[in-house]
């Protein structure tokens, strides 16, 4: 299709053309992605090989002290009078080996079995009580094992950089460069090494509270950790892909697969409708308030923003109370005589789904109203002026000016909202608690999202292995959607993400 045809087409048609082009290019793109895998692997291997090669070449080229630093970290640095760096590496080595010998080796050794000795009970006749013999605790073995592996990986990194530092020190000494003093080293942390200062604490926090739990949880999803295998009384162990097979309905408990399918589809339906209704209605509300001649704008806005400011657990618990079978809403409707029987807002499966969507509108519309208002006020007034002179109707102005403008700015927000709604724990849990519960599901209710299901089987059933699998699957779904948003900035358009 020629460019001219494309430009003369209507907006809807253009979108269709763009979509068709994209769909046509899709197989090719997927194909080239898979075709590039061998090349990428080859490239990666070559890079690793050359890095390893250059590392061991240091051993051949370096002098005695650099060679010595392969065994005693920091030896080369100390020889070239870089006491601070040298002492740091030496200390790191000593500490690591103490850690490894006393702690790391024990737990890494047990990592393959997650412990073999069950805690025992022995009757103590003198005291008349059961005494427990200390057994293995699979949970701690797993946790400490993972920590040890991470520490070992860190050590390897420090080790490599220490050898490099020794070699660099040797070369600089040959070229007659004066070694930096301790003071210079410290001030460099505020200057050329400022990033190390800035990154250290946040990275540490992320590693401890995000990366480590993530790795731990992924590991648990390959074990049989549940109520019946609960340390310290019992052990749990690796079971491979058993849990994943169970949740996809491939094992002897088809109920799980059915539950997962049902809850997953409701999660996606919920996320779609919750996002769309809030977004569209919030935008409409903002436009209504923003219309010329409507006053007092500020008061109206404040009224709606007020609901954002009330903590969700308060407003939702209160709503739950209002909407209960014998709650205020039903009582009033019965008194007026509109209904005979109470409306089962939260106890009937289908009705509960509608109720949570409606209440979610109450929660969410103010947010999108607030954001759209900010954008609306920012659209240059002369655009409307010019279009009115050209004879555009208000409807046309909305379609050609307002909508594209707002959409352009809020697309990332829209997709973050979608992902946020997949994980919208609060609205569901505080309002319906995932219920009404149903026997068709394994420990699940009609309005359960993956995340509330996960929470229930973690806290109630203590079925950690299953919870981990659900967590991983939710993560993959969210990551897939989010990557669509960020893919532009991650890959092609460098300017945006420098």
């Amino acid at each position: 299709m020629a460019d001219l045809d494309y430009l003369s087409a209507s907006a809807l048609k253009r979108a269709r053309i763009r979509f068709c082009r994209w769909a046509k290019s899709l197989p090719g793109r997927i194909g080239s992605f898979f075709a590039s895998i061998p090349r990428r692997i080859a490239g990666g291997t070559a890079r690793i090989a050359s890095a390893v090669g250059s590392f061991f070449r240091i051993f051949i080229r370096g002098d005695a002290f650099t060679k010595l630093s392969f065994f005693i970290m920091g030896a080369g640095c100390l020889r070239r009078r870089r006491f601070f760096t040298g002492a740091f590496y030496l200390l790191a080595q000593i500490l690591f080996w103490i850690f490894f010998a006393s702690f790391g080796i024990v737990y890494i050794g047990k990592l393959s079995t997650l412990g073999t000795e069950t805690q025992g009970e022995i009757w103590n006749d003198e005291l008349g009580i059961f005494e427990y013999t200390k057994g293995d605790n699979s949970m701690l073995v797993l946790l400490y094992g993972i920590v040890s592996v991470i520490v070992c990986a860190l050590y390897v990194w420090v080790y490599v950089s220490s050898v490099r530092a020794s070699y660099r020190a040797e070369r600089e000494a040959k070229e007659g460069i004066r070694p930096p003093t301790v003071r210079e080293g410290l001030t460099s942390l505020a200057n050329e090494n400022f990033h190390k200062t800035l990154l250290f604490l946040p990275t540490l926090a992320v590693v401890i509270f995000t990366v480590l739990p993530l790795v731990f949880m992924i590991a648990i999803s390959f074990t049989n950790y549940d109520r019946f295998h609960m340390p310290p009384g019992n052990l749990f162990t690796w079971v491979g892909l058993e849990n994943f097979r169970a949740i996809f309905g491939l094992s002897d408990t088809p109920l799980l697969g059915k539950t997962f399918g049902g809850i997953l589809s409701w999660t996606l339906i919920w996320a779609f409708f919750a996002t769309i209704t809030n977004y569209v209605l919030g935008m409409l509300l903002a436009i209504l308030i923003n219309k010329k001649g409507i006053r007092p704008k500020k008061l109206f806005r404040t009224v709606f923003v007020l609901t954002i400011a009330v903590p969700q657990f308060v407003s939702l618990m209160f709503m739950r109370n209002l909407l209960a079978d014998h709650g205020l809403v039903n009582v009033l409707l019965q008194q007026i005589g509109l209904i005979e029987e109470p409306i089962r807002f939260l106890t009937d499966g289908t009705l509960a789904k509608i109720t949570v969507l409606l209440v979610n509108m109450w929660v969410g519309i103010p947010y999108s109203m607030l954001i759209t208002t900010g954008i609306l006020m920012n659209i240059p007034e002369d655009l409307y002026e010019a279009s009115r002179i050209d004879g555009a109707s208000p409807m046309m102005q909305f379609r050609k000016i307002t909508l594209p403008y707002v959409l352009f700015i809020t697309t990332p927000y829209l997709i973050t909202q979608f992902v946020g709604n997949i994980n919208n724990f609060n609205v569901i849990w505080l309002l319906s608690g995932g219920g009404p519960m149903t026997g068709d599901y394994y420990q699940g209710g009609r309005t359960d999202l993956l995340i509330t299901w996960l929470y229930r089987i973690t806290t109630g059933e203590q079925n950690y292995k299953l919870a981990s699998v659900i967590g991983i699957i939710t993560f993959v779904i969210c990551a897939a959607f989010s990557l669509i948003v960020y893919s532009r900035s991650l890959s092609g358009k460098e300017g945006d993400f420098q």
Binding site: H195, V206, I294, I409
Partner: protein
């Protein structure tokens, strides 16, 4: 033409007022029931028969079973500490990503984006065991660490903001002999008020709203409960009849400061979410 316009405006007013009533009604009922004198979770009438401020005073006087003042103080401590810590984390990491060039920078940025898609409390069991291993469970410090722990991953909003500050300022200061740290403290931070306010606001509000992490970490240590956790106790099945009105009173006391804060700072919230695309 003019008549049609007026008719349209009347219609819009009607819609807006109706919506405003729907939106305010639950909050209105919450407030009015916090003054209700009769006990019970639900009553058979719209407005309370008699009003009292007992529910408020008893929150502060009858503290043996439900120590509301203490919960309030806990939440305040946790939110102030965790908002200081997370603001520091976010500003440090986003400045590094925005202004400094170092090896592994883009890899770290990508890793951060992907890790951030991982909702924190999915791994709460693991977090609990980690805290247990270092003996920190059921303490306020644990809450502070957990709330601020993953905040660095939300760097992209602040980074986007730093990107818009002209680098010419940095270069000028650099030529005058300022170190990178000086540039960060003296030049970039003073120019970043909107994004600092946004970060502080979000981090400060989180502990008042969060229920899940607090419940997993605190278990049954009532002394260290936050308000969200404590108020939940008031409406458990065996307490709800006697304590529902007091729950409402406590909820109002939590909502008022947060509401005021949010109303004053909403401009910064919008700026933060739209990535600074909205000015003014």
């Amino acid at each position: 033409m003019k008549r049609r316009k007026i008719a349209a405006n009347v219609l819009i007013y009607a819609i807006l007022i109706l919506l405003a009533v729907i939106w305010v009604a639950p909050i209105f009922f919450l407030v009015i029931h916090s003054f209700r004198a009769e006990p019970g979770a639900t009553v058979q009438y719209l407005l309370p028969k008699s009003l009292t401020i007992d529910n408020y005073t008893r929150l502060f006087t009858e503290t043996e079973l439900f120590n509301f003042p203490r919960w309030y103080k806990n939440t305040l401590i946790v939110s102030v500490a965790s908002c200081l810590l997370s603001t520091l984390y976010v500003l440090m990491i986003s400045y590094a990503f925005s202004r400094l060039r170092f090896r592994g920078r883009s890899g770290m940025m990508k890793a951060g984006l992907i890790l951030n898609m991982f909702p924190g409390f999915m791994s709460m069991i693991a977090v609990y065991f980690i805290l247990k291993a270092v003996g920190l469970t059921q303490s306020l410090l644990a809450l502070v660490l957990v709330y601020s722990g993953s905040s660095a991953l939300t760097y992209y909003i602040a980074k986007g903001f730093f990107d818009t500050i002209p680098t010419a300022l940095d270069e000028a200061a650099h030529i005058d002999g300022a170190s990178r740290a000086t540039i960060f403290w003296r030049i970039t931070l003073p120019l970043s008020k909107p994004i600092i306010v946004y970060t502080v606001l979000m981090a400060f509000m989180a502990p008042w709203m969060d229920y899940i992490f607090a419940s997993v970490i605190m278990k049954d240590n009532y002394d260290n409960y936050t308000v969200a956790l404590g108020l939940f106790q008031l409406i458990s099945r065996e307490n709800i009849y006697h304590y529902f009105t007091r729950f409402c009173a406590g909820a109002v006391l939590v909502a008022v400061p947060i509401a005021l804060l949010f109303l004053f700072m909403q401009k910064y919230y919008v700026e933060g979410v739209t990535g600074g695309a909205v000015k003014g």
